[in-house]
């Protein structure tokens, strides 16, 4: 604390003006918006959490409604034995619209988990996507193949020596039989599906299956085969196999989800029940995306409600943008790429698949949009197994909008308050500075050059500390005034007091002298003593007169009447007279020939000149030349007296003109009270002018000048 105070005292703030300090203080109100932001973030967090919690609650409710209801979750034909996941399982997504069977899979909105991947030899490989729509199962095979060779199926289709790429499809039928089909096209476009029929004696025959549609298309680094199968054909298992036969005689390279040896389908078809969507629709809310996934995380179905249009309308304008700029720092995730988003959703699903309801927050599709998601496991009837996962996602636009609105209002308010506070502080500081400055100037001026103090200070009727300061200044100045007055009259009073005993001495001496003349009773030496005593008393009298001189001049000034007169004539006459009065000095007078008229008291000017000449005579040697110059310009007449002699004392020429100040050699025996130049100043000021002293160039003497207003 002490150090802090010290820093305040000596720190960077101490050098500043009061106004700047107060301004800085006022600027601390800028912390208000900062606090507001913190509050808004808190609020945002609370809102977000409550949003997440409510979403989680809804999710859990839906999950509860599905608990143990496998038949509602999964297609009756493909009720999975819940025995862990098989990499060959195919989980079709429920599509909202039938895909066009055209060999292009881009309209398939599938989850990565739904994709079955099988690696082939030599960098080849396949990805299998599955989807259902109403009563159809759609498969898309995206095959990477270095060399696409079309199947020459017109020849014996089952001849193992034929070449060409062929796709095998195998599934259980509902009766428990195995159906095996293959597709091999001579050219891109629709290819017929051919079923292997086993006739008598095990003879196999390829029969065209018209219920199954397929289209073969070339694609980058391979080909795409899109297949449509009526769901009614398919039982519990389904699989595909790529038969890659690049040239005649080459070893057949086969890979896929079928058993290569007997073309048996081992992967299950895990499809959603047709009633699932109907069941889920009752929970649908606008803006909420509802996804059901299998326990492996593969999407079973997705109920995609349309987003609320214009829900999150960003506030436009400069200020809201600025606010967002320093709000959205890290709390809200930035927009991320689609795969990343999907990964976030996936990881949420995986967590739920492990049996825990979870909620998460991730970036949405658009800039600054945020998605709140919650996932809950769907348990089996005994609650021991996770049948699937339900996930709800919705954009967080609602509370973002709320936050933005609240923030904008809050920040606008604090901004106004801050501006007001700064303005008020500025005004207050300005007023304070003005008042202090006024007080300072007044107290500086109070001690005028004449020494008479004006005791009325501004602010003395103010009730605050400045008023107190002003009042204490006033009383201080008052006391100073009394003291100064006492000092100023001291010489006069002293002279007056001493005059009475002096009169006693002198009259006694005079009586003594008178009576001594008549009688001869006094020795001769007594006369000498008497005359010495008289001399002494006369000197004392001279001292008293000198002491009272300033008071006399002040009185004379007070009673002087101003008149217009010619200063040049006065100076010429007076200097002429000084020549007679001081025969030891030479006098040079330079005054304009034309009249220099001023308004004032000529007898006072003469007295002023007397003092200057006295001074010049005192400080110059016998035979020296004293130069009196009268200059004239439009504003002032300047009268100066220059004498050769010692330079002025270094303490400052202005001090010479103060009362009771003198610098004379100690050897001077005549009484001096440092009043001569003070009288010069008094008279100069009476004439609206000033008095100055300076050294002559080369320090050969001094020049005293007075300026007198016209």
């Amino acid at each position: 604390m002490g150090r802090f105070l010290e820093l305040l005292k000596a720190g960077p703030i101490s050098g500043l003006k009061l106004r700047t300090k107060l301004l800085l203080l006022a600027l601390t109100t800028l912390a208000l918006p900062w606090a507001g932001c913190q509050y808004a973030r808190e609020m945002e967090t609370v809102l977000r959490e409550s949003e997440q919690q409510s979403l989680l609650a809804v999710t859990t409710t839906i999950a509860g409604s599905l608990k143990g209801r496998q038949e509602l979750l999964f297609r009756a034909d493909s009720l999975p034995a819940i025995d862990g996941n098989n990499a060959r399982d195919i989980t079709p997504v429920v599509l909202s619209g039938a895909p066009l069977i055209d060999g292009r899979s881009d309209e398939w909105d599938t989850n990565e988990r739904n994709v079955v991947r099988v690696a082939g030899p030599g960098g080849d490989g396949m990805r299998l996507l599955a989807a259902t729509h109403e009563r159809w199962l759609y498969l898309a095979l995206l095959v990477r193949d270095q060399k696409l060779v079309f199947d020459a199926y017109q020849m014996a289709p089952l001849d193992s020596n034929t070449i060409g790429d062929r796709i095998w499809l195998a599934f259980d039928d509902k009766r428990g039989g195995q159906q095996r089909l293959f597709f091999g096209g001579a050219s891109p476009g629709p290819v017929p599906a051919r079923r292997i029929e086993t006739r008598e004696y095990g003879r196999e025959e390829a029969v065209e299956e018209p219920r199954i549609e397929a289209v073969w298309q070339r694609a980058k680094e391979g080909y795409v085969v899109e297949i449509g199968i009526p769901l009614s054909l398919v039982g519990q298992h389904i699989g595909v196999l790529i038969d890659d036969r690049d040239r005649r005689g080459a070893a057949r390279q086969s890979y896929g989800t079928l058993d290569v040896a007997d073309l048996r389908a081992t992967g299950r078809l895990i499809a959603a029940s047709p009633d699932l969507n109907d069941h889920l629709r009752q929970f649908a809310q606008p803006g909420v995306e509802l996804t059901v996934a299998s326990s492996s995380g593969a999407t079973l179905t997705r109920l995609d409600a349309p987003a609320l249009p214009g829900d999150y309308t960003k506030m436009r304008g400069f200020l809201p943008r600025m606010y967002r700029l320093f709000l959205d720092g890290g709390a809200i995730p930035r927009s991320v790429s689609q795969p990343e988003r999907e990964r976030s959703a996936q990881s949420l699903t995986s967590k739920a698949a492990r049996g825990h309801a979870e909620t998460a927050l991730f970036a949405g599709r658009y800039e600054n949009s945020v998605i709140v998601a919650a996932a809950a496991p769907i348990f089996s009837a005994d609650g021991k197994q996770v049948l699937g996962v339900i996930q709800l996602a919705q954009t967080a636009d609602r509370w973002l909008t709320l936050r933005d609105r609240a923030l904008t209002r809050l920040l606008n308010l604090t901004l106004i308050v801050t501006l007001f506070a700064v303005g008020a502080a500025f005004w207050f500081a300005g007023r304070m500075t003005l008042r202090i400055t006024r007080l300072g100037t007044a107290s500086e001026n109070a001690l005028g050059r004449e020494g008479s103090l004006s005791r009325v200070l501004p602010e003395s009727d103010a009730r605050d500390e400045l008023g107190e300061l002003s009042r204490s200044f006033s009383s201080l100045l008052g006391r100073l005034d009394e003291y100064t007055g006492y000092l100023r009259t001291l010489a006069g009073k002293l002279a007056h007091e001493i005059r009475t005993p002096l009169t006693i001495i002198r009259s006694s001496l005079e009586n003594l002298e008178s009576e001594a003349q008549g009688s001869s009773g006094m020795p001769e030496s007594a006369h000498i003593y008497i005359s010495r005593a008289r001399e002494g008393s006369e000197r004392l009298g001279a001292i008293l007169t000198a002491m009272g001189a300033a008071t006399k001049v002040e009185e004379a000034i007070a009673q002087s009447e101003r008149q217009r007169f010619d200063l040049a004539a006065l100076v010429r006459t007076a200097v002429g007279a000084y020549g007679a009065a001081f025969p030891q000095r030479q006098f040079v007078c330079r005054a304009p020939d034309e009249p220099v008229e001023i308004i004032g008291a000529p007898e006072l000017i003469v007295q002023l000149l007397d003092k200057l000449i006295d001074n010049a005579v005192d400080f110059s040697a016998d035979g020296a030349t004293i130069t009196v110059v009268l200059g004239d310009d439009s504003a002032f007449a300047e009268l100066s007296v220059a004498n050769p002699g010692p330079p002025l004392p270094s303490e400052g020429a202005e001090k010479l003109f103060e009362s009771l100040w003198q610098s004379r050699p100690e050897t001077d025996k005549r009484p001096h009270f440092g009043l001569g130049l003070y009288i010069v100043r008094l008279i100069a000021e009476f004439h609206g002018g000033t008095a100055h002293a300076a050294n002559l160039p080369d320090d050969t003497g001094a020049i005293f000048s007075v300026r007198l207003a016209h």
Binding site: R499, T500, A556, Q559, L570, V575
Partner: protein, 229 residues
């Protein structure tokens, strides 16, 4: 019969010294330390001349009051203020109350006695018819040296003794510059420059009371004054 001089002065040593000096000159002297005693005595018998100090014991302005009361008793009685106070204001107040002279205690006893003698001479002169030979005429001015009275254009100008002597010195040789020292000698006073200036001012003002255009006393800057006809 001896002329009686009353000295009203609270400082006993000064009073006694003055008394001794006046007695030597052949005057009867009575001294009083304050206004009360002085007035009591004056009510019984008036002196021929009164020398009064301004501040008397507990009354700082007691002399003025005494002067007013004394003037009430006798309009002709010569009154001299003799005081340590030398401000112009006091001088003006004293003379306005009808004092014949206002002197400071710097004045030597000899000068004081000269004044007292002069005032007695004037009292005597006023009792006799005016003697034409004593009258100096300078244009509009006529100055009676014995009666110490001055007339301008036939109108009386009331001057104090000091003022009269200054005018007398100036008019003796009209046109000649009299410097301050000469004027002081003529007036039997020792005065500083400012007091001389005030005297001159007062003289001018008194003449201007009877004649607004009066401009006979000229200042010769740095030297002194002269009477111009």
């Amino acid at each position: 019969m001896k002329k009686t001089i009353a000295i009203v002065e609270d400082e006993r040593a000064i009073r006694d010294n003055y008394a001794a000096a006046f007695s030597r000159e052949g005057y009867a002297v009575r001294g009083y330390p304050n206004r009360r005693e002085a007035m009591a005595a004056f009510a019984a018998r008036l002196p021929d001349l009164a020398v009064i100090d301004i501040s008397l014991e507990d009354e700082p302005e007691g002399g003025f009051e005494l002067c007013r009361e004394l003037r009430g008793l006798s309009p002709e009685l010569p009154i001299i203020f003799l005081t340590a106070r030398d401000s112009d204001l006091d001088a003006v107040s004293g003379l306005r109350l009808g004092a014949d002279d206002f002197l400071t205690k710097d004045l030597s006893l000899a000068h004081l006695i000269a004044r007292v003698n002069a005032l007695f001479r004037r009292v005597d002169a006023l009792r006799r018819p005016a003697e034409e030979k004593q009258v100096i005429r300078r244009g509009a001015l006529s100055l009676d040296g014995e009666r110490m009275s001055v007339e301008w254009n036939g109108q009386v100008v009331l001057l104090s003794l000091t003022e009269f002597w200054i005018v007398h010195a100036l008019t003796k040789h009209p046109g000649h510059v009299k410097n301050r020292q000469q004027l002081m000698d003529a007036a039997n006073v020792v005065l500083d420059d400012n007091t001389i200036t005030s005297h001159i001012k007062r003289i001018r003002r008194k003449f201007q009371v009877v004649d607004e255009k009066f401009d006979a006393v000229h200042t010769v800057y740095g030297m002194g004054y002269r009477w111009v006809e």
